[in-house]
Amino acid sequence: MNDNESPSATEDMLADLGVSSTEAAALRAILGEVAGMAHEVPEPSDEVRALLGGAIPLRSRRRMGAVAAVVGALALGGASAAAAANQLPGPVQEVVANATGGVVPHPVKPTNPPSDATGHANKPTAPPTPKTVPTKTPKPANTTAPGQLQKQTKPDPTAPGPARPADPGSHGREHHESGLDGADVPKPEKPQHLDDDDGAGDSKPADGKRKKA
């Protein structure tokens, strides 16, 4: 590298050093030799050559593939979980059930699964049943629907009684049903209370009446 071609950094270095012009010239020659060390263009490797040709780096491809795989797995898992919970619309539920049938370990049921006595299937169908049941049959269970109700209500007061405050309507109903068995409370109160089961605030006046009586 000639003096005329010396990079700006070299001139800055010499200016910072504050030496005489002869010393600066000698140093400029030395630094020119240093700059002359950069004369050999190394042969690019295959990967670098591919990048120089404008190719997408292999690492990026792998990363993109990995990201796509993770996103796909998450989407599949989310869809199968939602299908397992029977929370998808009907056609989508069937599609997911067919698609995940051979992949997912737990079976995904198609739309409208038969309502067994198991807890998960009964939860969505539970609200309509109480309104029809208490008016006809206070205690004896003739059909399967009241049997389901009793199955739900009987184990609850024993095991997780205080741990379920989230559903005040059902909670109050359970207490009243258990109270009805033992106390001499007139029967008309029970259907009233069960009819007002939807409103949580109505159960308190009923308790108050009972206490007064």
Binding site: S8, D16, P44, L51
Partner: protein, 182 residues
């Protein structure tokens, strides 16, 4: 003389134009290879390729034109070199046996000459301390400013300035000694 790295070349390289990418490589690779060799890398060619493997995919995100690309390239080169030094230090955990130690036969100057071929400038640089050499090479080969050099080395500008001054004075001193016998 290697071609200069211009903002136009960098702009074309950012657009993945093969001709601009090749021009960028031809402008930068010799300086990076020389820096790595001058610092004593045992695999300067391989590290140079690693630098470009890291640099080229990042071109779109680099700001500052040619200066920015040059600074990043030497930053990567410096980091890879530090990694190599650390690997080298870790690999010397075997029990020491003087008979098997070949290093006593090679001074830094001899090693540089053997690796890079005999040249006066190589012999001159071998007299510098490692950090002095790094500052001189980064500033001359990379055409980097004091601030950029300080950032790459993780030092203050004042410290780099001091290293640069001592390095230049050492070069001048040894150059004078070199010229006296002749």
């Amino acid at each position: 003389m290697t071609p200069a790295l211009t903002d136009e070349v960098v702009e074309g390289a950012r657009e993945s134009e093969p001709s601009a990418l090749t021009a960028l490589y031809k402008a930068l690779a010799p300086a990076i290879l020389a820096y790595l060799r001058g610092r004593g890398s045992r695999d300067a060619e391989g590290l140079t390729q690693e630098v470009f493997l890291q640099l080229l995919p990042r071109l779109r995100t680099i700001t500052g034109g040619a200066a920015g690309v040059r600074a990043l390239a030497f930053t990567i080169a410096h980091s890879r070199l530090i990694d190599e030094f650390r690997r080298r230090n870790r690999s010397t955990e075997l029990p020491y046996e003087a008979e098997l130690d070949g290093r006593r036969q090679h001074s830094a100057e001899q090693e540089a000459i053997e690796q890079w071929g005999s040249s006066e400038i190589t012999a001159l640089l071998a007299h510098l301390g490692d950090e002095q050499k790094a500052v001189i090479l980064l500033r001359v080969l990379g055409d980097l400013s004091l601030e950029e050099t300080a950032r790459i080395m993780g030092k203050s500008v004042g410290a780099v300035k001091q290293l640069q001054r001592r390095g230049l004075l050492a070069l001048r001193e040894h150059a004078e000694g070199r010229g006296e016998p002749e």
